[in-house]
């Protein structure tokens, strides 16, 4: 089980060092601090909207999780900075990640 295999199934998990418990982002095989093996944390993670803009009908937002990692995600409703959101859909398409939040 690794981050990408889970993401490709539509599941967002948070990579964490199994030795020092540091969140490792972007996901890699080993901790960027102690080089310990990285495992995946399961959960219904809530993220905070840090910033956003809009292209055509879609908003794209910077979302921060666990006060540590940030991703760019698509949102259809009007976002607000500071708003808490959850990942509604995610996966891998054309070798790249995608995330939707609401």
């Amino acid at each position: 089980m690794n981050f990408e295999s889970e993401l490709s199934k539509g599941k967002f998990m948070i990579p964490e060092c199994s030795v020092c418990k540091k969140i490792v982002w972007p996901p890699t095989e080993f901790c960027d601090d102690c080089f310990g093996p990285v495992s995946l944390k399961n959960g219904e993670f809530e993220g905070k909207i840090i910033e956003f803009s809009k292209q055509n009908n879609d908003y794209f937002c910077i979302i921060e999780f666990e006060s540590t990692i940030k991703i760019m995600a698509k949102m259809s409703e009007i976002p607000e900075v500071g708003q808490m959101v959850k990942i509604s859909k995610c996966g891998i398409s054309n070798e790249g990640y995608f995330f939707y939040v609401n």
């Binding site: 982002w25 910033e51 803009s53 292209q55 794209f60 940030k70 991703i71 398409s93 990640y97």
Partner: protein
């Protein structure tokens, strides 16, 4: 460390023409030799090629086409600041005594693969540079209560200055209203807020103090170098309203040169998008935070070319691997009082700011007469 000077330079026009990367590299190198007949090819110890192009072993290819047989020949790639990274590498070879004279040629085609960063998956599907630029723009406007019209002055100023640069991609002037009416790319970015990927090349010769003085009567010296890479992912920027890597690189470069930002007479800074110019001015120490546009306004209103005299990236175009070298050539010409209608008065100390990957990596150079 040994003193390192800029002894010669050459360039091509920046265009969207279809040209092979090998051809465009050779053209700026040819222009360099045409500009300075005192250079002996046998004195060139190293040929460094700055590019994001995926073609193989371009440095040996350029060496072969230009009739040079260097000891050291390799490419250097670091996205948009490949050019200044190459200059720093050349500086290091010379300062350490490993080489005495180095040709650095940067080139890119308009369809460079360096524009899309496949590694940066934290951006999700938003990998094109307009998306990070839109987030920077929105954050900067929000933090400092800045309007789109105020930001548009950056594009107006830099297009105006590019009109005096015969090698610039743009040859047109625009009003604030023109910028506002240009194609809307996102809610926070118009087409004329963006630098344009294009085809072009710039070449420069670095050499020891003795060889530099043999080649040119107007030597320019690299007196400060600062570099910082904070990550490879846009979303890992701690702030979306300032440039941490730029701030740290500038501190290092200014300290090495024993100067402060107040001492700088002329600067080329990395205005990949309109918002980048005030952000960089602030992070480099030219303005307080939130006041970068006050300086842009003042320079525009007084027709002062101090910042981005060649037109910056927005006016000149942005052939990634050539940009940092082209910026360095502009500051060299300014210090040599050789910049024609772009000339800044009393230019003795200049600065170059070249960054990559949404400001996660920056290079700052200080040049002096």
């Amino acid at each position: 460390m040994l003193k390192v000077g800029i002894a010669a330079y050459g360039t091509t026009p920046f265009t969207i023409d279809e040209q092979k990367i090998e051809s465009v590299l050779l053209k700026s190198t040819k222009n360099l030799f045409e500009n300075n007949s005192k250079i002996n090819k046998k004195d060139i110890d190293a040929v460094l090629v700055s590019t994001n192009n995926n073609s193989k072993y371009l440095s040996p290819i350029l060496s072969e086409m230009a009739g040079i047989q260097p000891k050291i020949a390799h490419s250097i790639e670091s996205l948009c600041n490949s050019g200044t990274n190459s200059i720093v590498s050349a500086y290091s070879y010379i300062a350490s005594g490993l080489a005495e004279m180095i040709l650095i040629s940067g080139a890119e085609r308009h369809d460079s693969p360096g524009q899309i960063l496949q590694w940066d998956n934290s951006r999700g599907e938003f990998k094109h540079p307009i998306f990070w630029a839109s987030i920077f723009t929105k954050s900067y406007k929000r933090e400092f209560s800045i309007s789109d019209e105020r930001l548009a002055v950056v594009s107006v100023k830099n297009h105006k200055q590019a009109k005096e640069n015969p090698n610039a991609y743009s040859n047109k002037t625009y009003t604030v209203q023109d910028v506002m009416n240009s194609k809307k790319l996102t809610d926070d970015l118009k087409l004329l807020d963006c630098s344009r990927p294009c085809t072009g090349s710039a070449s420069i010769i670095l050499a020891t103090e003795e060889l530099t003085k043999n080649i040119t009567d107007n030597p320019v010296w690299i007196t400060g170098i600062g570099q910082k890479t904070t990550s490879a992912s846009f979303t890992k920027n701690k702030s979306f309203t300032s440039m941490e890597s730029t701030k740290l690189a500038a501190q290092s470069a200014l300290k090495m040169s024993n100067h402060t930002a107040n001492d700088i007479d002329v600067a080329e800074i990395h205005d990949a998008f309109s918002v980048c110019e005030p952000m960089a001015l602030e992070s480099l120490g030219f303005s307080d935070y939130g006041e970068g546009l006050d300086l842009v306004d003042e320079l525009y209103e007084t027709n002062n070319f101090k910042i981005n005299p060649r037109g910056g990236l927005i006016g000149s175009g942005h052939p990634l691997g050539a940009t940092g070298i082209s910026q360095t050539i502009e500051i060299t010409q300014q210090l040599q009082s050789n910049a024609n209608n772009r000339q800044v008065d009393d230019a003795n100390i200049g600065l170059i700011h070249n960054m990559s990957a949404a400001a996660t990596s920056s290079t700052v150079l200080v040049l002096e007469k």
